[in-house]
Symmetry: C2
Subunit: 228 residues, 2 copies
């Protein structure tokens, strides 16, 4: 590529990263707000989450377009190609996190119709971990930092452990008092939505590892697939 | 592209489609087996699902490699470019369906430790719908058939309706008899895993619609994004 074209491509790639960070920020903020609504039992906050997905959906489309334009116009190779295809996948993951914020807000809406089952400790902790995993995974993407991405994968176990703990504790409540069954089910659902946000952060981290280090792996596998 | 190169590219694209169908077949078969284990209360079938994810994981890597190789070597444009990026996304969706089959098998393993809560009718129906959505979405991809893809989107409502019905029915059982709480929770989880399989089929169908019809939408959006 001519120098001017390369510079233009790198600028576009930087803008793509900025947009992905913006998208991640929006997704994270929606999860934070849904949890704030749960903890403070404030339906006005929850309702903002329920109706506020237009910006994230618009950004989702814009980022996808940027990726396709970059692929079509610049025909990038190696790590740049992987960075852009990863961006398409990460964009999908972030959009799903936005959807999960809505799922959480829906469960919170039902939950707030009942008296509180218990003081919430582990679920806000799960939310904190999921949000930080998401932030770190995106930072790892922007910096192409494998070590950081691997640290995200390790945090996932903590999230799974808390999910199991939440489940066991709520099961005890349900067995003791049938009136807690319905609201407990919603707390269990919320904890599973948070676990899935962690899964999406894990996907992003895995994409980063693939993007940065894939060369050898890909070479090996390309050999396998009929030597294309 | 020279004629020979074009023909080679089209052959590779056909092979990619074949592999995706194969991957879809494996994923669907694993879901079917997990449900068979549930309905017939046969742990040997369930155990095969729990340990049998190597072929699908290998195919996942192979398909990803094929996509990157096609992008790098042939630098496709327009619908071919979208077909290959869609294949990357669809491949991810199918791998998740394989994971969900394991999640279902895990829930079935726990469920079978208790006496049956009820005769299972809606959950096998949900599984049937989810499997047929997946199959149709992949057929729509291979045939580049928008009408077929749109039909998949419509089936998703039926799946959501059944999920709500399963939930309400099991809630009644749980409220009446605490001994059914634990196994009922696993049935609720299974119904949600099936719903998510439907969501993945929906993602595939949406990718097909984008792949086939995106030209105008894309053009419009490319205009928006700083005229790259």
């Amino acid at each position: 590529m001519a120098e001017r074209v390369v510079r233009h491509f790198q600028e576009e790639l930087e803008q793509l990263k900025t947009r992905l960070l913006e998208m991640g920020g929006l997704a994270e903020e929606r999860v934070r707000a849904a949890l704030e609504g749960l903890v403070s039992r404030d339906m006005t906050v929850v309702e903002r989450v329920l109706i506020g997905d237009t910006p994230i959906n618009q950004l989702h489309i814009e980022i996808d377009n940027r990726c396709f334009t970059l692929l079509a116009l610049h025909q990038p190779m190696a790590v740049d190609l992987r960075a852009i295809v990863s961006a398409v996948k990460i964009n999908t993951d972030l959009e799903r996190v936005g959807d999960l914020a809505i799922n959480i807000a829906e469960a919170v809406t039902r939950y707030l119709k009942h008296p509180p089952v218990k003081e919430l400790i582990d679920i806000p902790r799960m939310a904190g971990i999921a949000q930080s995993m998401l932030r770190d995974a995106l930072d790892a993407y922007v910096r192409r930092d494998i070590t950081m991405a691997e640290a995200v994968l390790n945090q996932d176990d903590e999230l799974d452990g808390l999910k199991t703990q939440v489940f066991r504790e709520l099961l005890t409540y349900m067995l003791q008092a049938p009136s807690t069954i319905e609201p407990s089910l919603d707390l269990i659902l919320i904890s599973r939505h948070l676990e899935r946000i962690g899964d999406h952060a894990t996907n992003v981290a895995e994409d980063v590892i693939f993007m940065v280090s894939a060369r050898d792996v890909r070479h090996h596998s390309a050999d396998r697939s009929d030597g294309i």
